[in-house]
Amino acid sequence: MTNAPLRPGTSKDTERDEPLLVVEDLTVRFPTQDGEVAAVQNLSYSVELGKTLGIVGESGSGKSVSSMAVLGLHDERSAKISGSIRIRGREVVGLPEKDMRKLRGSEVAMIFQDALAALHPFFKVGDQLAEAYQVHHSSASDRDARRKSIEMLDRVGIPQPDQRINDFPHQFSGGMRQRAMIAMGLINDPSLLIADEPTTALDVTVQAQILDLLQELQREFNSAVIIITHDLGVIAEMADDVLVMYAGRCVEYGTAKEILTHPEMPYTWGLLSSVPDVTASTDARLIPIPGTPPSLLNPPTGCAFHPRCTHRDKVAGDLCFTEMPELSEAKGNPAHVKRCHLPDPDAIYQTDVLPEIAPDLVKDNR
């Protein structure tokens, strides 16, 4: 796989064969009465057709804000967006609303968490699907749209779709609502599907079903998928690449395998330490990340994570407090970048962190 992380300046003159989605140096700011909130800063990533990018981070880390920018869903009056977002080489930032609308739902679709709130409570499920189809197929008759809706509901595994099409969202179960949401997202065969915490509101068995369904559909439609989550379990199952966000910035980016086995940023360690694993040894400890996410109005000086970082005293001087670390290549792997001052983070992870959180893994890795 050729996904060298796109740091500014690395992907020039590749208009033709650049990945499906390229985000470069994306910054989203919201001016408020108390000052400007920088929800996303200098974010760069890319997704290829058929691949899945997982974006991980706590609430307020800028995951959803950045992907809503891809669809141009931010209110122009309240959000200032700079940088570049290209879909099939076409610049989306600053695209007129009329053209943006043609992309939304057809080229790029989004499915949201909490399908009960995200589906309109007053319209029948079938009508909502048919509407999504007809926006982009203006010549399609109502009957065609209806047939297509039934077909999609059937495809996502809703029994008796020709009956259920006449139901309202509240008559569906939670899992079925999310399936209907997915059906609506895929009805126009988009090349990029953004799933914003698609399993958050669901119970665990249904979560697994939905994730399986997403993977299956991705193979079938060969679309690119961005899955936004705070659940590393979801990442492990779904993602090819992982982007870890903290306080609006990318703090670690690489292939899922790299990030899960050789994470180099203490925040990623924190996320990994707080994932429970039923099969893990009973000696494994669950270690929460201390503190709370920072205010984006007054972000901490230096590294945004330093107030919560348990490893900051391993960095010489007061670097962590004064200087924002640049994204730099992980040792021996140019496709893996991290934002950390620690001189040899992998070593610290293997010797200090891993024995604590997964003692049974240590032997395998050595």
Partner: protein, 336 residues
């Protein structure tokens, strides 16, 4: 839903029964002497104690209240005979709401002649509440936080802070009297069946005054409801589908935002139908509201009771209608 409506209608009947009894008792035990009114009226203010006694006897004020209330209710159900003075007997058909002490005309008949005026006021005014309030409210919600929105909200706050009677009176004084605007030259109710154009021009100023004043509230309701709805997840979903801004706002947004507005409107429209005292008084419209006002001043008990019952009936029916419309608008609401 059918069973629900029946149930609500039955409970409505109980409410009407209680209201009829309270109105009846208020007058029965009240400080005024209804027989005095009718006696003065009948004798050109030369009422003698002897004549008063006759009236008292004829009108049943010497009987216990429950007996008289029974007579009254029986009249509503099957009709009855009413005796004024010593000789005159009126036959009052069901639904008999009595005879006016003043005009000696059957109350129900007069109510029927006054209803078209009040209904004209209510339908035109209610229409303008929504026809002005909802679009302005939506427009303000879409521009929320902008200068135009703030200016509109403050201007409407000023208008709605003026007492309505003053607002309507000023409208009439300036437009009809001072400036003699031809459009508003002759206010009042003229039967639509006689001359629709005259009916329209007679009602126009009343409608405009009601509409202009009432729409400020509906603008506020609609704006508030719309601002809330536009931040809902399903609006974001509608945008993410690629729908145009107008479709998002009107099809997905307004549909949901209208539900609370419709609820308030149902009750407001009911009150309009029950009689608009200020509007009818100021614009000289001989409707139910004006009639009830006069009846109170004249201690015309049967008319007061009848207008109170009429108002209650209209409000109860409009409340039931609101519930039914609610269940049509919001599929999650099941009437049972």
């Amino acid at each position: 839903m059918f069973a629900y409506v029946i149930k609500r209608l039955l409970s409505g009947v109980v409410v009407l029964f209680l209201i009829s009894m309270s109105v009846f008792l208020l007058f029965w035990f009240g400080p005024s002497e209804p027989a005095q009114t009718i006696c003065d009226n009948d004798t050109q203010n030369r009422c003698t104690p002897a004549r008063l006694a006759v009236f008292r006897e004829n009108l049943g004020f010497n009987n216990p209240w429950y007996e008289e209330y029974g007579t009254f209710m029986k009249g509503v159900a099957v009709g009855r005979d009413i005796q004024f003075g010593s000789t005159t007997v009126f036959e009052c058909n069901a639904p008999c709401l009595g005879y006016s002490y003043r005009t000696k005309a059957p109350v129900f008949e007069e109510m029927k002649t006054r209803m078209p005026a009040t209904f004209s006021v209510a339908i035109g005014g209610g229409f303008l509440y929504l026809a002005l309030g909802v679009p302005i409210g939506v427009a303000a919600a879409r521009r929320r936080g902008t200068l135009a929105d703030k200016a509109l909200v403050s201007a409407f706050l000023v208008v709605s802070s003026i007492p309505y009677y003053l607002f309507a009176l000023l409208a009439w004084l300036y437009l009809t009297i001072s400036w003699e605007v031809p459009l508003f030259a002759q206010t009042g109710y003229f039967p639509i069946t006689d001359n629709p154009a005259k009916w329209f021009s007679g009602m126009l100023l009343a409608w405009c005054a009601l509409g202009a004043f009432g729409c400020t509230q509906y603008t506020r309701y609609t704006r508030g409801s719309m601002v809330e709805v536009l931040s809902e997840d399903y609006i974001r979903t509608a945008k993410a589908k690629g729908l145009g801004a107008n479709k998002v706002v009107y099809k997905h947004g307004l549909r949901a935002a209208l539900v609370p507005v419709v609820t308030i409107f149902g009750i407001d429209f009911g009150s309009l139908l029950a009689g608009t005292i200020f509007t009818e008084r100021i614009f000289d419209i001989q409707g139910i509201g004006l009639w009830s006002l006069q009846a109170v001043f004249q201690r015309d008990l049967p008319v007061v009771a009848a207008t109170a019952l009429f108002g209650a009936t209209v409000l109860i029916i409009s409340n039931i209608l609101v519930d039914v419309i609610y269940s049509v608008l919001d599929p999650r609401v099941r009437l049972s």
